[in-house]
Amino acid sequence: MTESAARGDRDLLRRYHDRGDLEARERLIEQYLPLVRSLARRYANRGEQLEDLVQVGCIGLIKAIDRFDVDRGVELTTYATPNIIGEIKRHFRDKGWSVRVPRGLQELNVRLSQLLEQLTVQLERSPTIAELAKAAGVDEEQVLEALESGQAYTTVSLSAPAGHGDDSDLDPLESLGQLEHEYEVSEDRAILAPGLKALDERERRIIHLRFWEGLTQSQIAQQVGISQMHVSRLIRRSLEKVREEIATGRNL
C-alpha cells in the first residue's frame, strides 16, 4: 500500500471515529471490498457460495473498521485481514453442523440435551454417560459420538430467532433478566478487558458465573434459563472467541 493510500485510510478512519462520519465508514468498506473478496475466495468451494462468504467477510471488515485504533500506527489491512479470516472461519464453524454432522447424530444430540436436563433434575446431580445412554436407548459410544458432534455446532446469535432445533425453545433475548444490568455494572473489569469485549452480554455473564463465581454448568443453566448443554456450548464458544480476540491483538 502506498503512503498516500495509507494516509487516505487514516483520514477516513479519523473522520469516522472522531466525528462519526458514516460516509467515511462506507468508503472504507467499499475500498476494502476487494480484500474481503480475495480472502473469501480462498475459502470458497467448501460447500458455501462465494457471495455468502464475501458477506460474512464484510462483517469482519466492519468490525475491524469499528474497533480500529488509529493511534496504534498499523495499517488497516494488517488489522482487518485476521478479522475477516476469523469471521469466515467462525461462519464455517457455525455452519459445520449441517455440513458435516449426520442428521441422526444431530437428533441424538438434541435428545441428549433434553435428557441431560431431565436427569439432572431427577437425580439431583449431573448424570453419567451410562445413565444418558440408558435413558436415550443407545449405547455409550453413540452418546459420546453425539456429544462430540455437538462441538461442530455453536449456538444462535442473540438476535436470531429460536427454533433451530436447538435445545431451548426460549428466545435467547428472553433469557436476559433484570440482573443483567447489575452484572454489567459490577463487572467492569471483565467487560473492559479486551478479550472479553469479543463476547456478547450473555456470553460475558456466563463466563463470569463460571470462572469468577465458580458456578457449575447446571447452576448457570438454572440461573440463566437455558439448558446445561447450551451453557456448555456457550462457554466453549466464548473461550474460543476470547482466544481469537487475544491472538488478533497479539498479531498487531
Partner: protein, 137 residues
Amino acid sequence: MAPDAISLSIPHAEPYHGVARLVVGGLAARLDLSYEHLEDLQLALVSVLERDGYVVGPEATVRFLVQPGSVGILLGPVDPDTIRTDLDHEPADGVSLRRVLETLVEDVVLEEAEGRHWLLLGKRVRTAGAEADREGA
C-alpha cells in the same frame, strides 16, 4: 500404587484435537464420571491443546493417568515460558489460563521430564468403575 495410564499421540493440528476429546469421553464412560466432570476435563484439555503457543512441535502427546479418586491429564511437550507467563499473570484480557484451569481441575502443575516440559492437569473425581475393578481383582 501406580496409576493406570493411557497414552495418545496425535498430530498437533486442530482436526485431531477431537480425537483427544473423544478419549476423554471414553474414559469418562469407563470410569462412570458425571457429564459435568467430563465437560470439565475436556474443556481443560482443549484450553491448552487448542491455544497457539502452548503445545510445541508437530505432535502432541496426551497421557491420561487414572487412579482411585483422580484423573490426570499430562499434556505436552509444552513451551514452559509461555505457559508460566500465562499461568503466573492475570492478563488484561480477563480470562487467564490459570483462572480457567483452576476452575475446571484441582491441580495444574508444570513438570519437566527427559528435557521436555509437560503440563499436568489433575481432577479429583469419583472413579467408581476403576475402583470397583480394583476391588474385584
